[in-house]
Symmetry: C2
Subunit: 413 residues, 2 copies
Amino acid sequence: MALLVQKFGGTSVGDLDRIQGVADKVKGFRDKGHDVVVVVSAMSGETNRLTELATTLQKQPSPREMDVLLSTGEQVTIALLSMALEERGCPARSYTGGQVRITTDNAHTKARIKKIDTERMRHDLSEGRVLVVAGFQGCDVDGNITTLGRGGSDTTAVALAAALKADECQIYTDVDGVYTTDPRVVDSARRLDKITFEEMLEMASLGSKVLQIRAVEFAGKYNVNLRVLHTFQDGPGTLITLEEDVAMESPVVSGIAFNRDEAKITIKGVPDIPGVASRILGPVSAANIEVDMIVQNVAADRTTDFTFTVHRNDYQRTMDVVAQICEELGAKEHDGDSKIAKVSIVGVGMRSHAGVATRMFQALASEGINIQIISTSEIKVSVIIAEKYLELAVRALHSVFELDKEPAAENSV
Amino acid sequence: MALLVQKFGGTSVGDLDRIQGVADKVKGFRDKGHDVVVVVSAMSGETNRLTELATTLQKQPSPREMDVLLSTGEQVTIALLSMALEERGCPARSYTGGQVRITTDNAHTKARIKKIDTERMRHDLSEGRVLVVAGFQGCDVDGNITTLGRGGSDTTAVALAAALKADECQIYTDVDGVYTTDPRVVDSARRLDKITFEEMLEMASLGSKVLQIRAVEFAGKYNVNLRVLHTFQDGPGTLITLEEDVAMESPVVSGIAFNRDEAKITIKGVPDIPGVASRILGPVSAANIEVDMIVQNVAADRTTDFTFTVHRNDYQRTMDVVAQICEELGAKEHDGDSKIAKVSIVGVGMRSHAGVATRMFQALASEGINIQIISTSEIKVSVIIAEKYLELAVRALHSVFELDKEPAAENSV
């Protein structure tokens, strides 16, 4: 019999009917003899409702008080789910983050977990209770309530699983697993049985928003078996695990990630002298603009072209900052484009396979898609293309790397 | 400069506008140099909303989980009020019952305060902060969240005032003080400047629902100066204090309390033997029916008549229980009446004045009102009359005891 940590997000506990559904599900695991620790989020909409109340009173609410306020959302859910479990004859006990001794630093609204004391939890489990723990929250050493930031419930679940050495940390959500790419774009997108932590990180950060990046990092660090499952449909979901568990069946490319949230800015004719990159990006970060891709090509005529991408919402602000920079640097000109998309192929298999990038570029070329920027890491290749080609590119790559087919053994070593 | 504990109930913090109003008020006191600890309830309607969620899931929700659930109501208010104060440049910090170390027993949903550790509060006050504390809640020694029961916020305020040795505990509410009687019944009802704890207890338990009885008892026990004030109107309110502070100006009767929530039951021809009272009232309490007045007259013919009153909602149930009892006791007959009202005159001045009851009975007689039952204590005389005479009786008594006039010195010693 296993020890399971199960996390249910805001949509899964969005109303009383769904809470009853979650209670049925949890009880099913308990009845099979498993020990269960449940982590829940606030009922969907609640965090926004509370945030609106706060911002009406104070333009920039005190982070400490925001945490006191928002942490009530999960506290309501733990009480309600515990009641629903007890009503089903399943002994349960609720705990806030502070009560279950999730100690964090004191960085209110974005605290990091320092320590978890598992003694009380182990005692409750040994007495046959289901533990229902508030996600997203903890307490600092002085007893002040802290929160881990949006999506922090995933992190709570993984941290509890690590501290309790759980057999599996199950994240229940509204999709039945991690897909080779977005099924809304490619009909034949396939659910992956397994994926490595690294691949999941690349998929998540590139826009497949199934899991919080931080939770995946945490799971990788402590080697917690993480599984993504659908709350209200049965199925095996996707297991996110160490590379060694996956590699044998791993295809070259595991998935295609993409997003259309970015805009690119290019500065042409920048003097090719040391320190130029920081003189460009310094003022950009100073304006609190986050930069994603950065590409600088080799110099010609002692000048170079410098391109980077930012979130599309920051596009106009970035262009203003860049205009100023260009003047100071004596750059020839600058331009930008917000009608772009980023497409990436991701897979640990790439490490041992040459020519993967070439296959990608050929596939795009054969569809007549021009590549504007290329950026690579050990397990992914990303390109920027015109936004209008996004779907076409994703479908072409999905097909070329045979992601619609179950991985075959010869494809993998 | 004084140390004030100020309590604002659910209606006073019922929406964001009102919370802003409370923040203005609190800041006003802070600006005058007072140290302020604010105790707040849940925003009005919130406790009912949460209770409904719970009872939909579980018919009799676990008391422990009810406390986890309901305590979020006050937690939301403390965060919002702290934000509103900080927005006004008034440093503030919120605390849940557990954080401010209000330790209670573990009687969930009706816990009693055992201990309050004031060190952290004193530190915050010395740094110039307003403390905003969640009323109605605490923690047991194991860190489980407890609540003090409905109206427990008054008790929290008084307990904090006692622990901190505050100069005054101010209860803000929707009336501007304690009145000689209900102004809706008697136009000339007058706000009292002062009243003793004992009088307030008699007034409160008899239906003038301004303050929780428990809070008044607590204030009396620890000699906390308690003041009832209107949240959104300026005025001195009513100070509830020790008898010695009041007696000099105290009239014979301080107020007229009344209610029409009761019904009376009479059993006639009960054998006049030892143990009869308990044989009648035993089954009544066993049926969870609370008894208010009990009157037994001297025996005639070895039988006696036994009368008691219960809440009108319990009338029919009580009659059923009594029918059974009568049979067992061999009592002649029983009857009851739910169209009754109880009227009481209350005042510490009665102790030193003879003939007060007589004046009351005369006043009622001169209006042609028949008295059905009489019951007296040291500082009150209560009568049961037909409900239809209630307003007439209250007005007559208010006038006879000159409650519409400011108390004169010669009236008091």
